[in-house]
Point group: C2
Chain length 325, copies 2
């Protein structure tokens, strides 16, 4: 690719559309320069997405632009942080203007929604992959960590579980459900997950721990249990399932997706009994359901899965990107 | 790769060796949490390095671990920033413990040298590439930008130019110089560039603009000229050249490397006449030479290359990564 093509690529990304006043210098120098507001802690997360591993090779660039940012926003949501700045390292096999236009338009649409600014990045030639560095702000001492869950705390999840995995399965196996609206809804849950930013922020004073569900409930809840040194009891009959899943798939399959399907990008969090009333006030008006699915137990108990009070075994672990070929 | 291999990889990188107190939470949650000191501006840069494009495929992992960080540190140096935190997104074709040990040991040696902390990242399977996100701190209002050069300012560079390009040429063509010490010195200049962190910090109050030389003097000085809307006159006979280059290569080749070889990772900066005395005090004791190579001119003049006062044409542009195949 030539120097001119570099400039062409830059044209798609060198847009300042936010009204942020904390960006002293964005794209165009050796570094971006950012001035943090007082009494804010910086939250930083990095994610790499590789074609064929993290997304289907034939994904539409608009879906990729949306999802790459959405899954990073989900990490900020899990900390209760307010989105601020993004860096994007993009490795492309070739310069395709239609691809770049669709990808960048979709990315900037979501950036604008959260008044975020793209502050830097890098473009290189190579097999298609993206690395995003996302930066958010959270009041000092108020970030939601994985490590604060205590025995007795209630375990909650936002939204419904397993829809994204169902959508991925439909895409991978080129299946179509009889009901087109349901079909599209599940595909959308996979391609256009909605980061739970507002919910995360509302939980800052209420939750003792939080994580976003990227690898599957069992795997991600496991991170909370490990970091907090506690166990948990999950009541499988309370897992929030969409009508789409419930009506169109076998119960065993649905349960597998809900527990270990991955890419739900819902929040899983723990709340002490004393905060349950305040939780209803804080989350009740945000338009996304939230469901109590179990309770934190002492560390020695490990993770127990109960179905109507009876223990149940489950062998499927969460999604592990390195298992994919 | 399996879940166990993930944990294995994590073991090489989940080391806390710095004494930083601004890291509230490093690796191990959805985001890292950082608390900035007061009156500091955050400087952020992102670089992707792809095997076969940015580094030779047979590079030793210890050299790669060093260089990947050093070239990012060079971006901080160009802003006058103090290194703080790193994120590392690593895409690997396979898990090779010897490779991981050599790479990470080398990376952490340089991180430790600057008391930096690795605060997060991501490991994925795919063709070998790295994306580093580097974060530094600079007192508010004191960052060195590209945009402050004014007509009359003197143009300086640190160190010597072209050595890295010579070292790369030796590696690529499997050539050996007759003098082994000179040979190794040039290779080292390519594989182990020394970021000019201290020089950048010393220039905070003295330089009107700065950039690090990654693509070659003409290309990078061009960024200062464009951002500052000025021209420049370069005196080619003043370009600082190492004895290694001067003694072992043709003058035309040496000039080409010095002007457009790339990967010098020296600083190029501009200083007004009034600060030249202070510059000698600030840089004189840091052990790296610095040389005045020209002067900033009005914008209309563009970039003029002079050899003993006579204009000279030069056609080679800087290194463009997308030109490489």
């Amino acid at each position: 690719m030539s120097c001119g093509e570099f400039e062409l690529i830059a044209r798609y990304f060198n847009r300042v559309t936010s009204s942020r006043r904390d960006v002293e210098k964005g794209i165009g120098d050796d570094c971006a320069l950012l001035n943090l507001p007082e009494k804010q802690t910086l939250a930083i997360s990095t994610d790499t997405l590789v074609a064929g591993v993290h997304f289907l090779r034939d994904i539409h660039p608009a879906d990729l632009g949306y999802k790459a940012l959405a899954v990073n926003l989900s990490d900020l949501a899990a900390m209760g942080a307010d989105p601020a700045w993004l860096t994007l390292a993009l490795t492309l096999p070739e310069v395709d203007e239609r691809w770049l236009a669709a990808f960048s338009d979709s990315l900037f649409e979501l950036l604008d929604y959260y008044d975020m600014q793209l502050i830097g990045g890098d473009t290189t030639r190579g097999p298609l992959s993206l690395t995003l560095g996302i930066h958010g702000l959270v009041p000092v001492g108020r970030a939601l960590k994985r490590s604060g869950a205590r025995p007795g705390d209630w375990i909650f999840v936002t939204g419904t579980l397993g829809d994204s995995a169902a959508g991925l399965a439909l895409l991978q196996h080129h299946q179509r459900l009889s009901d087109p609206a349901v079909h599209e809804a599940l595909i959308k849950r996979h391609l256009r997950p909605m980061p739970r930013i507002l919910q995360g922020q509302a939980l800052r004073n209420l939750a003792t721990s939080a994580i976003d569900l990227s690898d599957g409930l069992i795997s991600d809840l496991g991170h909370i249990l490990a970091a907090s040194r506690v166990g948990a009891r999950l009541n499988l009959e309370t897992l929030p399932l969409s009508a789409a899943l419930h009506d169109h798939f076998e119960p065993e399959q649905v349960l597998r997706w809900a527990l270990s399907g991955g890419e739900d990008y819902e929040l899983c969090f723990t709340v002490p009994e004393v905060n349950r009333g305040a939780l209803d006030v804080a989350l009740g008006h945000l338009g996304v359901p939230y469901t109590c699915i179990g309770q934190i137990a002492p560390e020695g108990e490990g993770l127990t899965l109960l179905e109507n009070g009876k223990p149940r075994r489950f062998n499927h672990k969460g999604f592990d990107h390195f298992d994919a070929k």
